[in-house]
Amino acid sequence: MSDFELPTNRAELFSLGLKLLDKDYFIGQFCPENGVDPTDLFAKAEVFGGLMSELRASGRFLFGMPVVSKPGPKVLIEEPDGNQREMIMFASNDYLGLSAHPEVHAAIREVVENYGVGAGSSRVNVGYSGIHRSLEAKLAKHWGQEAGLLYPTGYDAISSTIAALCGPNDRVIIDASSHSCIIDGARRSGATVRMFRHNDAKRLEAQLKRASDKGEGAILVVVEGAYSMDGDIAPLDTFVPLVKKYGARLMVDEAHAIGVLGARGHGAVEHFGLEDEVDLIGGTFSKSLGATGGFVVGDAAVLSYLNYLSTRIVFSAAFPPILAHGVSKAIDLMEADGGLRERLWENIRYFSDGFRKLGLELPEVEVGAVPVRIHKDGVMVDFAADLYEAGIYAIPIVYPSVPHGRSMFRLAMQSGHTTEQLDYALSVFERLLKKYEIL
């Protein structure tokens, strides 16, 4: 360890914890300022590990606490001292509770004997199974596209598709609220990357016009169907005509929209009825579909190209076939049991109305998470700790994830949350919103 002393003020302590997660800050500023030996590759890791241990021991750093029970609206969290605490979960993206669904488990048990646990290699080698092929065919058919292509993760599906499709002469235009996988893929592609203000069609068109005026290479616009931090959905019905007007291609990442939007839960593209207008649709199986892995659906020739030129496919083992089978069952359940989605939306409406009745201003919630804006950066660490003590697991969203003064709790909803759980959470929030003079 260096001689650095941790701040004693809890808010500063928490803020430091978040800052340390920024590698550029940690290596570029924190380490030189605190005398960490730059010639020892592991010295910074030892300092980092020590600081994280102390932060966690302070009881004010809730990120990455191990869950030691079945996933769901109520879980057991194991604390650093080994104590287990029952919590109502508002931080999981398993919106429909399909990770713990008995029929998904049965589907996995059905094939594990014949297919094993791992894929064994990359899908372009021998890691591609009949189960993968069936899931790709299902995705293509159900999402109304020519073909489907699986990736090891949702992050890989989006980032690697952009990186493989675009090159230095091209231009990738992305929303300012884009997930890291979109930014990463755009940068890795070598293309010129331009951002436009979140969900702002006017700024998108300004970027499209500049790109078109340049007349260099191709243009790819990438947006998310639903933005879980902003609590809104992309106005795809407005974006599609603009993208076409300037001869660009449109890719939609449906990560947070699958299971939440659309008549069958396919996402924002289905919600707007634009299946024939969007060029590529991608997403993850790790949220509403309760597993892991990712996919892209679209033109068969494009997906064949991606299969051999996506580094995350070629140089990574295919995602386990047993999970592919579980995902296939989860898609069936998501499509067939509309009640899952109805209950999710009932919970979203009940919870957001509950906050409004408390006197909190809340925008119309269009996604699976309720954004409770606190705005007072200085109280967030104590507010989060009080929630934790009351048995509510909610991760505080503070700077740099959001600008200063826009601190919030992003409360991820599940179809399995009971009215009693939501009422209890509302009563705790009411007490704390008053305690911290938000109300």
Binding site: A176, V193, R194, M195, F196, R197, R203, A206, Q207, R210, A211, D213, K214, P403
Partner: protein, 80 residues
Amino acid sequence: MNAEEVLEVFRKTLAEVEERDFSQITGASSLADLEVDSVAMMEVIGCIEDDLDIVIPDDAFTGAERVSDVVAAILAHLPG
């Protein structure tokens, strides 16, 4: 293109992206006082790169505190 002309391009592009009036800013203006968040500033710089047909590396603005720092970074990447 001189510093005053680059400053005018910066003012005009800020106004376009933020839809606010920035005609009063000078080289001495503090970037923090502009109340333009970092993502919007990236959009502004991208537009300037396109309009002036230049490429400015991300680290060119490291440590920038005043408008004149941004103007200097842009000037340094203009051809000739």
